[in-house]
Symmetry: C2
Subunit: 95 residues, 2 copies
DNA sequence: ATAATATTTAGATAGGCATCTAAATATCTA
DNA sequence: TAGATATTTAGATGCCTATCTAAATATTAT
């Protein structure tokens, strides 16, 4: 996943709300939907984007599909972004 | 600046390259342009977006306009993003 | 098997965005 | 004041994306 694609995945307000919800605990689509004012197909689309960015995962449990944050990936992303934004390159060799 | 707008400003590869260049040192548009395969009007457009996101500033020096990173803002943004991505809300009160 | 529930897929649409060329503005130099 | 250099603004175009409705798929319950 490139940094651009990650930023893009994170740049949509509904997707941020999805992540915020999943930070609390894993939950099915129907429950995520309660926090958002979009139709289920639109939500499904956003879940797909976050899945393709590897930020979340879904597993089926009966009729429901339970989504959860990929915590280790999210942490890696946080580090990657922090490095991009804060690393001072003034005195670094070209590594 | 909302988190969404910040992510969006950072999600474009050319804008990331601009930030990367300005991490080294401030420089005029003409020098930034050397790193990118886009026309000057397109570059101007990207600089405008980064300026509106308050991530960079430009000052005129003669014929040139020198752009530089707003270091304090960039640091704040890094913290904001880190908080968004890593803060576990499971056991937080609703503050 | 049928009906009900949960979610995704298909297909269409509207708005946003990155890009370009051409022209305008600002500054410096001769 | 011209002409040259640096950058931005104007206007157009094509692609990407968020959104919707309708239909399809998957699972459970009757």
């Amino acid at each position: 996943m490139s940094l651009s694609q990650t930023f893009q995945a994170l740049s949509e307000p509904n997707r941020q709300k999805i992540i915020d919800a999943l930070k609390k605990r894993e939950m099915p689509v129907s429950e995520i939907a309660l926090n958002l004012n979009i139709t289920l197909p639109t939500l499904s689309h956003h879940l797909d984007i976050l899945k393709r960015a590897d930020l979340i995962s879904g597993r089926r449990e009966g009729q429901q599909i339970i989504y959860s944050l990929n915590l280790s990936v999210v942490e890696e992303v946080a580090e990657k972004i922090a490095k991009f934004l804060t690393t001072d390159t003034k005195f670094r060799s070209t590594d």
